[in-house]
């Protein structure tokens, strides 16, 4: 029987790693991810999870050991954040390029300098193009559910791609929430065993990681791109089956009170729940506003985004990362690009805020809507607005 308990999101993710019977975990401590791997180490030490825990000497080696373990046919998990994610950056491309279905939780955090251990999305935005499937979760329950689904999706023989689960550092990773942890048998029935056809096996030798000349590199990259794009069908299917089995529904893009809305807010990650409260407050004042939340970041859900925003006039997008010297926040840039060739589309205001752990409250979201609507009305849309900066 599944049970509803009060548990910190990080520990719940570790418990889920146990539920899916992960074989190998290679990880290095970094705030705010550490609670996840500490708890996994505990579960291994207590004999509750039969896995090899490799306490590597760096994140570069964490992801490298994961490559080896996954290539060896083992279900593989790791977690990191911020500088750790940056240190493993080059290895991320190898994981996807070699089609190794590693699952990684990233407790999103700012990137130095100045040093900040607190949350925003700067770390993962440099990993947009690494070829991983990437989702952003809103709460602890979703972190658990996405972790369960991630292994099925990543290890599907038609997908074989690594999977990144982004959760906001501290705002989500360190929050104790009521979470339903599914029963071990339920999960076992839902998640098939990892059976990697090409694992490194002396009885059936294969070579992995050949270099490619210009004559074949484009073909190799395109094969991966097709696999990543096509993974969307598997993602939809697994989330549908999850809904039928566990009763919780997940979609690539979620909408909240968007019918008849003239202005839409768009968010990604755990701040979406605060944004919903802000929408409720504005609706009570009679304002026609709604919310669009992006869950699936890669493969990018172009059609879903268009469907969600095509009826509105104003779209105000919050980014928790700054694309330095660039056109807008990373999410806003991508949404703008997705809509550019559509004949009917909303005006878009890009707002960057919540950097380095700065909170965004209900009143802030209302403020953002005011700022956005005013800019559009006055025809004074800047490339992006930085929210709440002093001076």
């Amino acid at each position: 029987m599944s049970k509803r308990i009060g548990i910190e999101t990080s520990l719940a993710i570790a418990e889920t790693v146990k539920l899916v019977n992960v074989d190998v975990v290679a990880a290095y401590p970094i705030t705010p991810q550490t609670h996840i791997v500490e708890h996994i180490a505990d579960l291994c030490a207590n004999g509750e999870l039969d896995a090899e825990y490799i306490p590597v000497e760096s994140e570069h080696s964490a992801m490298s050991a994961c490559l080896g373990s996954s290539a060896g046919g083992a279900r593989t998990f790791t977690a990191t954040a911020s500088q750790g994610l940056e240190l493993m950056h080059e290895v991320l491309y190898v994981a996807s390029g070699m089609r190794l279905p590693i699952v990684m939780a990233v407790a999103n955090r700012a990137v130095s300098a100045p040093l900040s251990i607190w949350g925003d999305h700067s770390d993962v935005m440099s990993c947009r193009d690494t070829g991983w499937i990437q989702v952003f979760v809103e709460n602890g329950q979703e972190a658990v559910d996405m972790t369960i689904c991630s292994f099925i999706i990543a290890e599907d023989p038609s997908v074989l791609l690594p999977f990144m689960i982004n959760l906001d550092g501290f705002h989500l990773s360190h929050v104790i929430e009521p979470i339903i942890l599914p029963d071990q048998d339920e999960v076992k029935a839902f998640v098939p065993d990892f059976n990697y056809k090409y694992r490194l096996d002396p009885h059936n030798p294969v070579a992995m990681g050949d270099f490619a000349t210009p004559a074949i590199f484009t073909e190799a990259k395109w094969a991966n791109e097709v696999a990543l794009t096509n993974s969307r069908a598997v993602i939809n299917d697994v989330w549908d089956r999850f809904y039928k089995t566990f009763g919780r529904k997940y979609q690539a893009v979620e909408t909240y009170k968007t019918e008849d809305a003239e202005t839409l807010l768009m968010t990604m990650g755990s701040f979406s729940e605060t944004a919903m409260t802000a929408i409720d407050a504005m609706r009570e004042q009679g304002r026609k506003v709604g919310l669009v939340r992006i869950r699936l970041w890669r493969p990018f859900p172009f059609d879903d985004i268009y469907e969600a925003v095509k009826e509105c006039k104003n779209l105000i997008i919050l980014d928790r990362a700054l694309s330095a010297g660039g056109p807008a926040g990373p999410v806003a840039s991508e949404v703008k690009a997705a809509l550019y060739n559509k004949s009917v589309k909303p005006a878009i205001v890009s707002i960057v805020g919540g950097l380095g752990g700065r909170d965004i409250h209900v009143s802030d979201f209302i403020n953002m809507v005011d700022i956005g609507e005013k800019a559009i009305k006055n025809n004074d849309i800047k490339p992006f607005e930085i929210y709440g900066v002093r001076g």
Partner: protein, 314 residues
């Protein structure tokens, strides 16, 4: 082959885990070292290759020279990848998902991949005690990228990033003593080898593979391209490196040093340096100074053998 019955070659296994058709340079001593090492691998061996000459020459989509399971990922992480494979094997066989049998995991890297960029991953893997063998094929510079100096380049060698010139002797630092660094990890087996002594090399590989725990072999690999020598000299120069004391053959089992070939009198260093373009700028005084240091290191190594042997006997 003076120390061996020449007919011993005939009893060497016919097994060639490294297939011909690889694209190593003509007369490459490193690929010969790798080929001989591979012959000593058991068929239950998984090979992890760091980026470098040996990776590039053996692999190119859709070809690969290895008849064993083989994986290459990056330059600096072969030891970490090997840790992951070893762990996967351990847990999958414990969970009865793969047959229970001994599978060896061997990581290969050049000197750059091992003693420079990959030393952190290697140190981590050895400290954690993974049951892996790491083989460094040391050709004393970054040859794959065009002969740049590494910390394994010997003093006085001219490379493209330590060129000899009016104000430069070439490489101005002494070769990093990597086997000693590996010994300092308290691993059960460390050895040096050279393909000019193929039976010694293959015996050491077998020993390393059968060691329970981490093992390390540092193989001297002549590079005709990077050292600017004739293509038929790989065996001769390897032998001279040993006979002049430049590269002593020894092994360290559980901390106990043992020389495998003790030279009663070291040959003159110039016999070794003369055929090599990378040393041609060195004058006699410079060569003598280098030779003096080589001799003192050789004596220090012999002393280490005696001291650790005495400790062992006690």
């Amino acid at each position: 082959m003076e120390d061996y019955n020449i007919f011993a070659s005939r009893v060497v296994t016919k097994n060639e885990p490294l297939a011909p058709g690889h694209r190593a340079c003509i007369g490459c001593g490193e690929v010969l070292a790798m080929r001989l090492a591979a012959k000593a691998f058991n068929k239950n061996t998984i090979v992890v290759n760091a980026t470098g000459c040996m990776e590039i020459i053996a692999s190119q989509v859709p070809y690969n020279s290895w008849r064993l399971p083989w994986i290459h990922t990056l330059f600096e992480n072969a030891a970490a990848v090997a840790s992951g494979i070893e762990s996967a094997i351990k847990v999958l066989s414990r969970k009865n998902r793969i047959p229970e049998e001994e599978i060896h995991v061997v990581a290969l890297g050049g000197d750059g991949a091992t003693v420079d960029i990959g030393i952190q991953a290697l140190s981590g893997a050895f400290e954690r005690g993974h049951n892996i063998t790491y083989i460094c094929f040391d050709n004393e510079a970054y040859m794959n990228t065009g002969i740049q100096r590494s910390s394994a380049t010997p003093f006085g060698a001219s490379t493209t990033t330590s060129p000899a010139g009016k104000k430069s002797i070439g490489q101005s630092t002494w070769k990093k003593d990597t086997p000693s660094i590996m010994v300092a990890h308290n691993i059960p087996y460390v050895a040096t080898a050279c393909p000019s002594y193929p039976f010694d090399l293959m015996e050491k590989i077998e020993k390393a593979l059968s060691t329970n725990g981490p093992s390390y072999i540092h193989i001297f690999s002549v590079c005709p391209t990077g050292w600017r020598t004739k293509s038929d000299l790989a065996i001769r120069l390897g032998r001279l490196a040993v006979e002049t004391g430049v590269f002593p053959l020894y092994e360290v089992e559980n901390g106990v040093y043992k020389m495998n070939k003790i030279e009663t009198e070291l040959k003159p260093l110039s016999l070794y340096t003369k055929p090599q373009g990378r040393f041609k700028h060195l004058n006699d005084d410079q060569l003598s100074a280098i030779e003096a240091r080589i001799h003192s290191e050789y004596e220090a190594l012999k002393e280490k053998c005696e001291l650790t042997q005495v400790r062992e006997d006690m």
